[in-house]
């Protein structure tokens, strides 16, 4: 037998393995949750409040119930268990019973034979409201001049960070009050679920598009008053998430209808309903004042954050902590005074969206960095390099930066990416700002360049016992992986088999159904699944490998501790023993489960001090934009980026995350906003809520910085969120550079540029 290892292109870690669900998704055969059907199925639909704040005087469902085709109508009185749910605080009613607190709050639901019957039935439900004056400005809640709109009060969370010399200052003092609009996750695959009641009517099986099956399970079973083992969840095909599927939306309603009607129920939101049915990115107002020495080095930061959490808590407390603990961005800072509020209002509830509080903080701190540079007479690159954080630096929370922190390298590698060619004098009009609107004139266009650099925490914080579970089984010469990790498009179903192939030397890997019949994997959020579920799959495969080596050792009379995997063989290190893994496992079966927990974190104390975060990742973005200053139109020409990724596990997946995140950050910079007026959403549609199209996509030039992260199970950091964080301030800085005007609010609207 030859000892030469033949080079083979296997789908192991580091290679661009292709999606196992790719063929199904391109041919239309992949089953999304909204594609599911069951025999004897009915449709479910939700009645929502038209008022931001009102008292419910009466609800009359009789006319709806009398409509032909309607099976049942349910309200708060039909919730057998806990009347409320919520990720951090259980303060949101399954159905409003006494007050409605935002436009779109669920009040009732129906089950009927056709979606149109559902719509007609909803219109027949009579609700008498006493309309109340809504609390829509968070400052009114902070000042205490508005009486509580919820028994838990109007302030969801208040947290300070007090660090170092409170009177420290320097010759440079710059400040600004920054405003961030409400962004929608706008996943394409609308909320959908199929609930099938058990034949004995005492349990339910829910197929649902979600980010966290086990968290859904615990909230649903509490509301249904069913033991957790009588509620089973299976992940249906998920059409994107970006944070919007972390909270409960239709899950409880769908199960309640199925149990009441004793028939399978399918629910699917329309796009308009989706705008009301899930949480959004928090709108925020952030005041920042930076004190710096004459060279531009940060001496102290004062900041005040106000996040509008909307009517219910969702993840607002965690978003607030993420925001304020990222006040400094990826820069050294010894002294800080930070005050942060997450406020309850009668606006739509806000919660998780890619970037989770750090997006808001980053727009403020990056705008400030450019002001420091201007005052110190240095460039945007220089100001960031002289302040760049490194491993071992203290954060304003007192935590020490333990992660690999190649901030300076992110900046210099980005700066080394060539700038795009100047805009030609004769140019395709689609390349101009305004694109297919064909309104801009080449002669009016000015170009600008801007920078943004960010730090983002990975995984969960503040003492949460964050873990993921995976099971690896070898049976019939094949590997089976089982986990509850939500695949929402990010590609964990591609990565998990890569891990198994690398660890076990076997290529035939099958993923078992993703459901609650195994331990929790935690949420697909916080850039955490490669680290957490990846660590769990890696751990489970290693345990199986140990058993496999023992088996091979006993069969061949060799110490199993001498065995290693070499490509697809089991060998000893000196080349005297070699057997293909496939041959070695004939007749062998084994199954092992592994839970991966990350290092412990702590809560912040009253001064905002504590080791609250697990790990961090960094990224730099440089934006080049063309602006028509008269029309206020912007075309993002190029985004150059260098991202700290630890280790690239799948280059094709990784570039997809970077480019996709950049497009979402571009959306927040120049077009995406849920427009609110008096507690009402003015643009709940894709006609009025603008999303980046192929014509808006900039040329992305990306460098991935691979500095192995020793604390990460695979050496790889999460890469999902960083791309969308500092690209937004980079684009805004580029617009400022082009037009010479301070811009304090995102998204930047045409009138902000041209008026």
């Amino acid at each position: 037998m030859s000892t030469t290892v033949t080079a083979r292109n296997r789908d192991v870690l580091g290679n661009s393995a292709l999606r196992p669900d790719g063929a199904g998704k391109v041919s239309g055969s992949f089953e999304f949750t909204s594609d599911m059907h069951a025999d004897n199925m009915l449709w479910g639909a939700t009645l929502r409040s038209p008022h931001p704040y009102a008292r419910i005087v009466s609800i009359d469902t009789s006319a709806a119930l009398a409509l032909a085709g309607v099976s049942c109508v349910i309200t708060s009185q039909d919730v057998p268990g806990k009347p409320t749910y919520g990720l951090i605080s259980s303060d949101q009613p399954v159905f409003a019973s006494d007050f409605v607190r935002y436009v779109g709050e669920p009040v009732a639901a129906v089950a009927a034979d056709h979606p149109e019957t559902c719509r007609r039935a909803l219109a027949l439900i009579q609700i008498e409201y006493e309309v109340l004056t809504p609390l829509t400005d968070p400052e009114d809640a902070i000042s205490g001049k508005f009486s509580p709109i919820h028994p838990d009060g109007n302030i969801i969370r208040h947290q300070r960070i007090i660090r170092g010399d409170q009177s420290a200052t320097g010759p440079i003092v710059v400040e600004g009050l920054y405003e961030i609009g409400m962004q929608d996750q706008a996943f394409l695959g609308l909320e959908a679920a199929l609930a099938i009641p058990d034949s004995d009517g005492a349990g339910v099986h829910l197929h649902v598009a979600t980010q966290w099956l086990h968290e859904d399970l615990s909230q649903i079973s509490a509301c249904l008053a069913l033991p957790a083992n009588r509620v089973r969840l299976t992940l249906g095909g998920v059409g994107g998430a970006f944070g919007a599927r972390e909270d409960i939306s239709l899950q409880v309603h769908c199960c309640l209808l199925a149990l009441k009607a004793n028939r399978p129920i399918k629910m699917q939101y329309s796009r308009e309903e989706s705008f009301f049915g899930h949480v959004h990115r928090h709108p925020a107002k952030i005041f920042m004042r930076h004190h710096a020495d004459a060279s531009g080095k940060i001496v102290k930061i004062d900041a005040r954050f106000v996040f509008d959490g909307g009517a219910y808590t969702s993840t607002s407390p965690a978003v607030l902590i993420n925001g304020i603990t990222h006040t400094q961005g990826p820069y050294k800072c010894d002294n800080a005074t930070v005050d942060g509020f997450a406020i309850r209002t009668n606006n739509p509830p806000c919660g998780a969206m890619r970037g989770f509080g750090v997006v808001q903080a980053c727009f403020a701190h990056e705008s400030q960095m450019d002001k420091i540079a201007q005052a110190a007479g240095i460039s945007p690159i220089e100001v960031r390099l002289i302040n760049a954080m490194a491993t071992g630096d203290p954060l304003i929370t007192g935590q020490t930066m333990e992660s690999v922190a190649p901030v300076a390298r992110c900046i210099t590698d980005t700066a080394n990416i060539p700038l795009p060619e100047p805009l030609p004098e004769i140019v395709n009009e689609l390349a101009l700002p305004g694109g297919s609107g064909l309104t801009a004139e080449r002669s009016n266009i000015v170009r600008g360049i801007g920078w943004g650099v960010s730090m983002k925490n990975l995984m969960y914080s503040e003492g949460f016992d964050d873990f993921a579970t995976a099971r690896c089984t070898i049976r019939d010469g094949k590997v089976f992986l089982k986990f509850a990790t939500s695949e929402v498009g990010q590609g964990f179903v591609t990565l998990a088999p890569q891990i198994a192939r690398s660890v076990l030397g076997l290529d035939d890997v099958e993923i078992e159904p993703i459901d609650t019949q195994v331990g929790s994997a935690g949420s697909t959020s916080a850039s955490r699944q490669t680290w957490m579920s990846g660590g769990a799959v890696d751990g489970a495969c290693r345990l199986v490998r140990e058993q496999m080596f023992k088996h091979v050792g006993s069969m061949h009379n060799i110490d199993p501790l001498r065995l290693v995997i070499s490509d697809t063989d089991i060998v000893d290190q000196i080349g005297t023993f070699r057997i293909s893994v496939q041959d070695a496992i004939e007749g062998f079966s084994c199954s092992e489960t592994f839970e991966h927990h990350h290092r412990k974190t702590e809560e912040l104390d009253e001064n905002g001090q504590g080791n609250c975060h697990t790990a961090f990742a960094f990224v730099a973005h440089r934006a080049v934009v063309d602006v028509d200053p008269e029309l206020g139109l912007v075309k993002v020409v190029q985004i150059a980026t260098a991202q700290d990724v630890g280790r690239v596990l799948n280059p094709l997946s990784a570039i997809g995350q970077l480019e996709g995140g950049i497009a979402q950050g571009l959306g927040l910079a120049v077009m995406e906003e849920i427009v609110m007026k008096d507690g009402k959403v003015k643009n709940p549609s894709f006609t009025d809520y603008l999303l980046p199209t192929a014509l808006d996509a900039p040329n992305v030039v990306a460098v991935m910085i691979e500095e192995y992260e020793p604390q990460a199970p695979l050496g790889a950091k999460g890469i999902g969120e960083p791309p969308c964080i500092s690209v937004t301030p980079a684009i805004v800085a580029a617009i400022r550079d082009a037009i010479g005007k301070d811009l304090l609010r995102i998204p930047v609207r045409p009138q902000d540029i041209c008026l």
């Binding site: 292709l18 999606r19 391109v26 239309g28 994107g240 498009g489 192929a694």
Partner: protein, 161 residues
Amino acid sequence: MSDNEFYNLRVNGMSHQVQDSWVGESLLYVLRERLGLPGTKGACEQGECGSCTVLLNGNAVCSCLVMAATAVDAEIVTVEGLTTGNELTDVQQSFVDQGAVQCGFCTPGLIVAVHHLLDHNPQPTEFEIKEAISGNICRCTGYGRIFAAVEETIKIRNGAK
């Protein structure tokens, strides 16, 4: 409801009888819920996102905006009709190979739109590609890998000549 009434739709070369349909049902609804062809997706109901793109007499249209009953005499092709047997088309294969698929919800509409583009304009410029798919919103990819997939398909077709 129009009991005992029906009309015929010709989809992917086959005639389908649509029974008991409400007059207001969109082509998207009828394809998905009555004809068992869920490959075509709905995501905005306004013709903004292109997820529901099908070919209607050779034109790429948003099936959410077409009333099904008005498509009675038309030749309709959905994403399911592009594939022959289990073989992916060159466009579909390039989407998989180039990483143009993440969550995949926009993908069927994009596949139909790209087939339509390349059938009518086999050598599109960069801007012609961008314009042709600018009616198809993708929230995951930022479009970079989708452009790569279209370019890859063109390259393969050119090489095959």
